[in-house]
């Protein structure tokens, strides 16, 4: 298992793919990539794959595809050339592989350059917080523009409800009588309840409401209590919201 690869020194897992390996072998020859003896490189390549297998490293099909191409080139170069056409074909396979290698080499160099850059940049720090800390502690910048005012909202609602009313009246639907619930009363009631440390889920609180109107009033009253600082809103891990009395 600890047997060293025979014909070349290499740390095994460093190659990112067959082209990376092939480029390494070719560059070892110290001649122009176009002039390199592919036959020789083929041997080394196959020997590397054998070592990988010995070390139980997975030889992926990509490595095998390139091996097949290399073997093809090698076997052709050993055979007598029966025709011009066959020789051209051989050249095509070889040329195509070398072009791929050269293309890959460009990006490998670029990757090395990126790595250096990243190294240099790792010494530069920017601030971590996203919201600007204004020295006078103003609330964060409001970026929403609605194109409307509260009065527009009111108008929209009035119009819609009027339209709805016409529609409902046309259907002759009965109107449900309503009971008056005072917001002030509800606030006082809740205030009494939310003594030191008392907590209650928002849902449960709203669930106590007997009518839609009571629900709305309870909701508004809760908001008021939050605004007054009587209660805090807390969200638990299940996204459940609780009202918790201050102190």
């Amino acid at each position: 298992m600890n047997q060293k690869p025979s014909s070349f020194e290499v740390k095994l897992p460093v190659f990112t793919g067959p082209l990376d390996l092939l480029l390494h072998l070719v560059q070892k020859e110290e001649v122009s990539i176009w002039d390199v003896s592919l036959a020789k490189v083929t041997e080394e390549y196959m020997s590397y794959l054998a070592t990988m297998q010995k070390l139980n490293l997975e030889v992926t099909c990509e490595f095998l595809v390139v091996a097949a191409t290399l073997l093809e080139i090698k076997s052709r170069s050993l055979l007598p050339k029966p025709s011009v056409a066959s020789k051209e074909e051989e050249e095509d396979v070889r040329e195509n592989l070398i072009k791929r290698l050269l293309e890959y080499k460009k990006f490998k160099l670029a990757a090395a350059n990126f790595s250096q850059r990243a190294q240099k940049e790792s010494t530069v720090f920017t601030k971590t917080y996203e919201d600007p800390w204004l020295a006078d502690d103003e609330p964060p910048v409001v970026t929403v523009q609605t194109g409307a005012s509260v009065w527009d909202l009111l108008e929209i609602v009035q119009k819609m409800f009027v339209a709805k009313k016409v529609e409902l009246e046309a259907k002759g639907k009965p109107q449900v009588p309503r009971k008056q619930v005072s917001l002030t009363e509800t606030i006082l009631k809740l205030r009494q309840r939310f003594q030191r440390g008392y907590r209650c889920s928002f849902k449960a609180l709203l669930g106590e409401a007997g009518s839609k109107e009571e629900l709305i009033v309870t909701f508004l009253a809760s908001l008021e209590l939050v605004r007054l600082g009587v209660v805090n809103l807390v969200r638990d891990s299940r996204q459940e919201i609780y009202l918790v009395a201050e102190g």
């Binding site: 720090f125 920017t126 601030k127 971590t128 917080y129 600007p132 800390w133 204004l134 020295a135 006078d136 103003e138 609330p139 910048v141 409001v142 970026t143 929403v144 523009q145 609605t146 194109g147 409307a148 005012s149 509260v150 009065w151 527009d152 909202l153 009111l154 929209i156 609602v157 009035q158 819609m160 409800f161 009027v162 709805k164 009313k165 409902l168 639907k173 109107q175 449900v176 309503r178 917001l183 928002f202 849902k203 709203l206 669930g207 009518s211 839609k212 109107e213 629900l215 709305i216 909701f219 508004l220 908001l223 008021e224 605004r227 919201i241």
Partner: protein
């Protein structure tokens, strides 16, 4: 390390710290006593004050922090505003109005009032943080209830929801009509 350098290091460290950094931490980083660190920081503060700069060094929450100068806050607030001033669509405004006056309210109830599906405008309002989920309704399917946010109040310049102008009686009356599941279903 000379004084100039020590101050530069302090500036870099205070700037890069995710939270206000304490005197003790500053001293530890420089490898000097707290008194020396305090003197250096005072000098740095003086530098910040002397040069008319856009930033200030301030003492806050038991530590030091670099922040923008208050007098330039008007300009700082302009950042990022330009690309984000998309106005709300009519549909989104309708939904917002309904949520504002009828909260907490479910999507189905909003659909019912508008007579059309409101999923997409509601999504917009959620993204702009004008409305938010405030709970779940205790009915079949436990649908999400929507309400307006603090940001809604901010954007519309309201102290609280009570400041919403009152609806006319007509609308008020309709507002209390309770759409029950049975009634909502088309027959």
């Amino acid at each position: 390390m000379n004084i100039q350098e020590a101050k530069a290091i302090l500036e870099a460290v205070i700037f890069a710290a995710p939270e206000p950094i304490t005197l003790k931490e500053c001293a530890g980083i420089l490898g000097v006593g707290e008194q020396t660190a305090e003197l250096l920081i005072q000098q740095l503060e003086d530098d910040y004050r002397a040069q008319k700069r856009g930033l200030t060094l301030r003492r806050v929450a038991g530590g030091f922090q670099i922040a923008t100068r208050p007098e330039y806050s008007e300009y700082v607030k302009l950042i990022g505003r330009a690309p984000k001033t998309q106005q709300l669509s009519q549909a989104a405004l309708e939904c917002l109005a309904i949520v504002a006056y009828r909260q907490p309210i479910t999507r189905v109830e909003i659909d019912e009032i508008r007579g059309v599906k409101s999923e997409s405008p509601l999504q917009t309002l959620l993204e702009r943080e004008l409305i938010t989920e405030v709970g779940r309704k205790d009915t079949v399917g436990r649908p999400v209830l929507f309400g307006t946010t603090k940001k809604f109040l901010e954007v519309f310049g309201l102290k609280d929801l009570d400041e919403l102008p009152p609806l006319e009686d007509d609308a008020e009356m309709l507002l209390t009509l309770e759409p029950t599941p049975g009634i909502n279903e088309p027959k």
